[in-house]
């Protein structure tokens, strides 16, 4: 009987044995949620315009990105598709390539997000839009940040 009658010896220390478990849990969370940047920007990082009436882009796998910006030391707007600087005429091949990676029924849901610099010209954007219209990729999204529109014209 004396086996069960133990003497109480002060407060036991808090066990830290489960600390690795907790940390691992956090680690897995971040490992799963991390998205490594797929494309490296060849153009100067576009400074996105600001807007208030914005919508979140759902289902990122259905979004293809077109970057518009400048290259240091070169004039005019440049368009980047995937990993290279391209011409407006290449936009359609880019979209075709994107479509190939999706199943037939997802194609109408594909969205093209235009990430263009505040200081680029509307003409460039219109050329892209015209190309997209030609191949019936009609859903677009002008990528913007949340903020005051008056900042765009400074």
């Amino acid at each position: 009987m004396s086996k069960f009658r133990k003497k109480k010896k002060g407060m036991p220390g808090i066990s830290t044995a489960s600390l690795p478990d907790i940390v691992f849990m956090l680690l897995f969370f971040f490992m799963v949620t991390t998205v490594m940047r797929e494309t490296e920007l060849k153009i100067k990082k576009p400074q996105l315009p600001k807007a208030t009436e914005i919508k979140k882009l759902e289902r990122k796998s259905l979004v293809s990105y077109i970057y518009v910006g400048r290259i240091e030391g070169q004039g005019g707007d440049k368009i980047q598709l995937n990993d290279r600087v391209a011409d407006v005429k290449d936009v359609k091949y880019f979209i075709f390539a994107e479509r190939d990676t999706h199943s037939e029924d997802e194609i109408p849901l594909l969205t093209t997000s235009i990430k263009a610099d505040v200081n680029s010209n509307v003409g460039t954007i219109t050329d892209i839009k015209e190309e997209l219209r030609n191949i019936n990729a009609l859903k677009i999204n002008y990528s913007t940040l949340k903020g005051d529109v008056m900042d765009n014209i400074k």
Partner: protein, 213 residues
């Protein structure tokens, strides 16, 4: 006795290793949410498409942005960006005449009617009905993208304001909140019905004209 010589692997540093990895992923994670103004481009018309129906000039609200980023509304008023929203709201909400025929809940086509939810001035020289009011945004190739987006934002904002107002009047909550709620419980049919109703009453008709060279 020999068993006691085998020391246990010290797992005390496991936490440190895990922490190191954790911090690496914490730093590299970018939780950027993509936001933006969504638009649907008009479909390409075939060459032999019939001429689009002529629109009455009073039903079209023309916003022109030139290459110097000056904004001209209706071809006569110079305006700054912050004034456009009010002006666009006045135009959409005017309700000076009969609208396009709408459908009721059962899908029957109703007679063209006046806009009884509009609170505008009912000026006969401005738009007839929200479903006839068209906003046309004209730009130049040299217009800066920032200005262009700002104007677009204000035009979309005008619609959002009007929809919010109507929604508040009909259902007691703003349109923005309705959308948010509908996203959180996608199976709620009554919410969807409400959103559809409001969208029909203030349909967003913004046309992006091809820019001048």
């Amino acid at each position: 006795m020999a068993k006691r010589d085998l020391p246990e692997i010290n797992a005390g540093s496991m936490a440190d290793i895990a922490f190191l990895l954790l911090i690496f992923f914490l730093v590299t994670t970018t939780m950027d949410v993509d936001t933006g103004i969504s638009r649907k481009l008009p479909e390409k018309q075939p060459e032999d498409a019939p001429e689009p129906p002529k629109l009455k000039e009073k039903n079209v609200f023309i916003v022109t942005v030139n290459r110097n980023n000056n904004i001209l509304v209706e071809g006569e008023h110079f305006m700054t960006i912050d004034k456009i929203r009010e002006e666009a709201k006045k135009f959409i909400d005017n309700g000076g005449g009969l609208g396009n025929p709408m459908k009721d809940a059962q899908g029957n086509v109703l007679e063209p009617a006046e806009c009884d939810w509009c609170e505008g001035a009912k000026d006969p020289a401005s738009s007839d009905h929200p479903n006839k009011a068209i906003i046309s945004l004209e730009s130049d190739r040299g217009t800066s993208y920032g200005t262009y987006i700002s104007v677009q934002n204000e035009l979309v904002g005008a619609y959002t304001d009007l929809r919010n107002r109507l929604s508040e009047k009909l259902y007691g909550v703003t349109y923005t909140k309705l959308i948010k709620d509908a996203k959180n419980n996608p199976s709620n049919e009554s919410l969807k019905e409400k959103i559809k109703n409001i969208k029909e009453k203030y349909p967003q008709i913004i046309s992006e004209a091809e820019p001048t060279k």
